[in-house]
């Protein structure tokens, strides 16, 4: 990218600590200054190049590493411009040094990611000293040299995937590096965004960090095998496959159907997600070895000499195996880099609206329910040549669409009132044309309440009263619906009670109520489902678990036992008393979690609905136009499924969030 020019005769004065010298902030003043072209060259400016990539195992061993000599040379040259020998003092460390530095960081910060917030354990020079959650994702490593004279490696973009840690080190300009270094060493109580040299302005100035995130992301996908394309549903038959199918299809092989375990049809996996979140990382993936050769060849294709050019796994791997298409282009245009082949065969276009609804239902007068829909419009355009597809969107205002963003092939018009038109040259395979956020514009698909009250320390009485699909007419169809009561900190011994509809099962830590099961969908009518009963738990055994925040403060709270009160004597609520007692062992959750799930009693609802959208945003397949014009059918399907759809125990504590007032 626009990096310090190696043989510039004129350099910016040394920068440290003075924001007046901050490249990105000062441009406005500078651009009007007299033109000494090379003055501006010293700005970091943009672009993304990667110095090195490491993949570490949970045991702090390096499983994979890749360095880019060309980028390293630019790093050295940039530092030489700063002063003699500086570049040589900070060479890329050896694998074992990185592993040791990472292990050392884990020791100093408490966890591999660090706390991200300044605690009692933080001290000058640690990432958590900076007191920003992003330092869990952009970390610094202290490389110790045996002969003395260690140095800092920054910014290392960290991503945990499966049980591996992916570390990506982009090239940054010396000024930004020094700015961060001085931030780490500031002795004060922590800076605000209003101060000079703050973390935000450093990050704004470094697009390479953003690029490194995307690199880490795709590498994570590859090592966990999570490289499937976004889903596109065909109303008749199974979901359709991705880019490879487009290729095989074009040479006469019929499209494979996807394995039946499509992401949306995995209620079991999604149920467990909010429960015991701290463990979720270790459940995913395991220490499965990954294909290093595959990764190596991807890196060569995706980021030749360290500069990312195409981070789409499907594209890069198909170009690598099959090369570019040799077809003559129908028109005089340039073939996009993200469309290495042209489709050949029966022509059609598929669109799918896939929505996920998050809900917090309270059934309380003082707390309003919260519902929000996050949707995507996916597309698969099996069209020959390089046609332009135009798709007018209507009803944006009616659906109260709050935010939308588009695939990079899309040119979107400025939205006017209810309308916006999208023009795009579709890539091969399935892609997400558009993402959007909207409120739920019809009644929630599952309404009602959940109550749980402890009648003794090991026994609770519960009651569900739910109404499903009220106000939903055909073609809306609820394919399945399941309610789970998780008890991550108790072991369920047994339960009593029969639901008015559906079946119930239990495992060690949860009770599961299947109201509508797959294959027996609910359409054209609404049902009421009630379930009351009791649940009995095994007596509790106390377990104490350490966490990054806990260890910082445990000593300070030892005192409290001195003045514990006997709440039960005062006739206070038994539920509150038990909860408070249990919370003494509560583990601090990771910053990636929305809340301390385990501190609450709730039921989680999982469902899938087809035949419509909850936001009300739909497209009209007849309004899709293709240029040059072809006769190709346009198919459209809709599906909504639950994300975090929570019924908070009406009788217990519940989390909430304030809604903005109209300002």
């Amino acid at each position: 990218g626009g990096f310090t020019f190696p043989y510039s005769s004129c350099r910016l004065p040394h920068w440290p600590l003075r924001v007046s010298g901050h490249p990105i902030l000062e441009t406005s003043a500078e651009s009007t200054a007299t033109a000494r072209p090379h003055l501006r060259r010293s700005m970091s400016g943009g672009g993304c190049s990667i110095r090195a990539i490491w993949i570490l195992t949970p045991n702090d061993a390096v499983a994979f590493s890749r360095r880019f000599a060309v980028v390293e040379k630019r790093w050295r040259v940039a530092w030489e411009a700063e002063g003699v020998g500086k570049g040589a003092e900070m060479p890329l460390p050896a694998d074992y040094e990185v592993a040791a530095a990472f292990a050392n960081r884990r020791r100093r910060e408490g966890t591999a990611r660090g706390s991200g917030i300044r605690t009692n354990l933080s001290s000058v020079g640690l990432d958590s000293w900076v007191d920003d959650p992003i330092t869990r994702h952009i970390i610094s490593l202290q490389i110790d040299k045996e002969e003395g004279g260690g140095f800092m490696l920054w910014p290392v973009v960290l991503q945990k995937r499966g049980s591996y840690y992916v570390l990506v080190l982009p090239l940054v300009d010396p000024q930004s590096f020094k700015a961060f270094e001085s931030l780490l060493k500031r002795p004060d109580c922590g800076s605000s965004a209003k101060e000079n040299g703050n973390l935000s302005s450093i990050l704004l100035n470094l697009p390479c960090i953003t690029g490194a995130f995307m690199v880490a992301n795709v590498i994570g996908d590859i090592i966990t095998g999570d490289v499937a394309e976004p889903e596109v549903i065909v109303s008749s038959g199974p979901s359709v496959g991705g880019l490879l199918d487009s290729l095989t299809g074009s040479i006469g092989i019929t499209a494979r159907s996807k394995p039946s375990a499509a992401p949306v049809a995995a209620p079991v996996a999604s149920v467990s997600s909010p429960v015991g979140a701290a463990q979720s990382d270790s459940l995913k993936g395991g220490i499965r070895p990954f294909d290093k050769e595959l990764l190596r060849s991807f890196i060569i294709g995706a980021m030749p000499f360290g500069t990312p050019q195409d981070l789409n796994y499907g594209n890069v791997s198909s170009i690598r195996t099959t090369g570019y298409s040799a077809d003559p282009l129908p028109t005089d245009q340039k073939q996009p880099a993200w469309k290495p082949y042209l489709y050949k065969g029966r022509q059609r276009t598929l669109f799918s609206s896939l929505e996920t609804i998050n809900a917090a239902l309270y059934d309380r007068d003082d707390v309003p329910d919260f519902l929000s829909v996050s949707g995507q419009l996916t597309c698969r355009a099996e069209l020959e040549g390089l046609p332009d597809v135009s798709l007018p969107l209507t009803g944006l205002k009616t659906a109260r669409v709050e935010v939308s963003s588009f695939h990079h092939c899309v040119q979107a018009s400025e939205p006017t009132g209810n309308k916006q038109s999208l023009l795009f040259q579709p890539p091969l395979g399935n892609f997400v044309l558009m993402h959007y956020q909207a409120p739920c514009n019809i009644d929630p698909p599952v309404k009602g309440f959940y109550q749980l009250s402890m009648v003794s320390e090991n026994e609770g009485a519960f009651l569900f009263k739910l109404r499903l699909m009220e106000g939903y007419k055909s073609p809306f169809l609820m394919e399945f619906c399941m309610v789970t009561m998780p008890f991550p900190r108790r072991r369920v011994a047994s339960y009593d009670g029969n639901p008015s509809v559906g079946t119930v099962s239990m495992t060690e830590h949860l009770i599961e109520w299947r109201i509508v099961s797959s294959g027996r969908g609910l359409s054209g009518r609404s049902i009421e489902a009630t379930f009351s009963g009791t649940v009995r738990f095994h007596p509790r055994t106390t377990q104490r678990v350490n966490s990054s925040f806990r260890s910082a403060t445990t000593t300070a709270f030892a005192e409290d036992s001195d003045c514990e009160q006997d709440i039960t004597k005062n006739g206070a609520n038994l539920d509150d008393y038990l909860m408070e007692k249990m919370n003494k062992d509560l583990q601090a959750v990771d910053l990636e979690e929305p809340l301390s799930w385990q501190a609450y009693n709730y039921a989680k609802v999982s469902f899938k609905i087809v035949g419509g959208t909850l936001s009300g945003l739909i497209i009209d397949p007849r309004s899709v136009t293709i240029y040059p014009s072809v006769k190709a059918p346009v198919e459209y399907s809709m599906q909504a499924s639950s994300g975090d759809y929570i019924l908070w125990n009406t009788l217990g504590k519940c989390p909430s969030a304030a809604l903005p007032k109209e300002l």
């Binding site: 672009g47 992003i134 935000s200 704004l204 690029g211 996920t356 998050n358 588009f406 300070a556 919370n583």
Partner: protein
């Protein structure tokens, strides 16, 4: 090779141009990148200033012909001559080709191209100011992309071509960033990054207060995002509060922002003090304070100290902390740590002291002697350590506590009263060490005498500790 040996292709820019304009296969992107990189090399070498055309070619490109400038050591100085008219035209031609259709590029390549375009265009902007508008037209649509790389690239252009993007563009862009953080499909680090970008640029800061509604943390936002959104709300509160001093009419809005924001982590009041919610809540409080009175550039001054003291925010803060401390004893150590953090900072020491004075005035009168008072000892120690805080109320409370302990003292509670009593004595010791005024001498003597009377063996055991 051009990356490794910058300027390698500067002399054959004409060939690179021909190749890039002729290529129609998917490899066209690579040729565009090559042309862009070669053009940047030419600009950096000062070729625009020469009278020769930068696109002129002499014969076919010859493999392995190394340009002279790469061989000379030290490298030649770049010419600072203004670009020739012809070369301004030619570089515009190159830029026009490079920027022709950003949609055909992958996001990664588009990031590289925008970086180069920004550098090259900036170099000739003075002679061809229209380029800035062209750049804006071609690239600003990327702001609405799902790809964070494209979004960040547009921001780079904002910084490089300030005149091309007006106040309205700034407002739109700021709104775009604030709303992008609310898009659930984006990975968490990206959602955090966009808020950093928003706060990181001086150009968007004026728009931030108007975006408050986007910063309300969502129920299911990860705690990291809640923390960052609270930063933004704190920023809004601080900005609005300082405006108010100048005659605005925001009234209670600032404190509403803080209260509303904290609802999403309100469980910190009853969750154990080590919970993540607690950390996020107290971090937010700290940010609001520091946002209102930032650290000075020279490690000494603190801008906005006076304003902060008189601000609604600060009064609200004091009341909030006092309520928290009196209603949720388990939060006392957290509050003590919070104050400690301020006391340890040269710039904000006075804020910490002010808060201690507030506790002295407003919290101590609310507290009753008894075993539960022990929860407050961490805070009492902070008060005792501080010369800027009056001690009489504390001594009075501790005296009452001693009386209470002595009253309850019997064989059953012996250990408890001993443990608590000696902690009180410990606080007295801290007080003696830090206060040399005769002011506290009499009441303290009174307290100690009472203590010795109630616990006759104290003097022998603890004599050494006072010295």
């Amino acid at each position: 090779m051009d990356e490794a040996l910058p300027g390698l292709l500067a002399d054959v820019l004409g060939h690179a141009y021909a190749l890039a304009s002729a290529e129609r296969s998917p490899a066209a992107q690579s040729y565009i990148l090559l042309l862009a990189s070669a053009a940047r090399g030419a600009v950096r070498l000062g070729r625009l200033g020469s009278s020769a055309s930068i696109l002129a070619v002499s014969g076919p490109p010859v493999p392995f012909s190394v340009p002279a400038h790469l061989l000379s050591s030290p490298p030649p100085l770049a010419s600072a001559a203004p670009p020739s008219e012809q070369n301004v035209r030619e570089i515009r031609k190159v830029l026009a080709l490079v920027m022709e259709r950003p949609q055909v590029l992958t996001p990664a390549a588009a990031m590289e191209v925008t970086a180069i375009v920004a550098e090259v265009a900036t170099a000739v902007l003075e002679w061809a100011p229209a380029i800035a508008a062209h750049v804006k037209v071609q690239f600003s649509g990327m702001a609405y992309s799902s790809s964070p790389m494209l979004l960040h690239s547009v921001l780079t252009l904002f910084a490089k071509f300030p005149d091309a993007f007006g106040a309205e563009d700034e407002r739109k862009m700021a709104r775009r960033l604030a709303s992008a953080a609310c898009e659930a499909h984006r990975p968490l680090p990206v959602r955090l990054l966009v808020l950093h970008w928003l706060l990181g640029s001086g150009r968007f800061r004026d728009s931030v207060p108007g975006l408050a509604k986007w910063f309300y943390p969502g129920m299911f936002d990860p705690l990291a995002l809640k923390a960052k959104k609270l930063d933004c709300l704190g920023f809004v509160a601080a900005t609005v509060d300082s405006d108010k001093v100048e005659g605005g009419s925001y009234g209670q809005q600032t404190t509403e922002f803080i209260d509303d924001g904290l609802v999403c982590v309100s469980a910190f009041r009853w969750l154990p003090a080590w919970s993540t919610e607690t950390s996020v809540a107290f971090r937010a409080l700290h940010r609001v304070l520091v946002g209102a009175a930032p650290h000075g550039t020279n490690d000494k001054g603190c801008s906005g100290a006076g304003e902060l003291l008189n601000s609604t925010t600060f009064h609200h803060f004091q009341a909030m902390l006092v309520d928290m401390a009196s209603e949720h004893r388990s939060l006392v150590p957290v509050i003590a740590d919070f104050i400690n953090r301020l006391l340890a900072c040269t710039t904000h020491r006075w804020v910490g002291e002010q808060l201690l004075r507030t506790f002295d005035e407003c919290l101590l009168p609310r507290l009753e002697p008894g075993y539960q008072l022990a929860s407050y000892y961490p805070l009492f120690e902070k008060i005792a350590q501080n010369e800027a805080v009056p001690q009489l109320r504390l001594i009075e409370l501790l005296t009452k506590q001693m009386v209470c302990l002595a009253k309850k003292h019997d064989p059953d509670t012996e250990l408890k009263s001993w443990s608590q009593g000696s902690k009180v004595v410990g606080i007295c010791r801290i007080m003696l060490k830090h206060h040399h005024s005769s002011h506290i001498f009499l009441p303290l003597t009174h307290l100690l005498v009472r203590t010795i009377e109630s616990f006759p063996d104290l003097e022998i055991r603890d004599h050494a500790r006072y010295l």
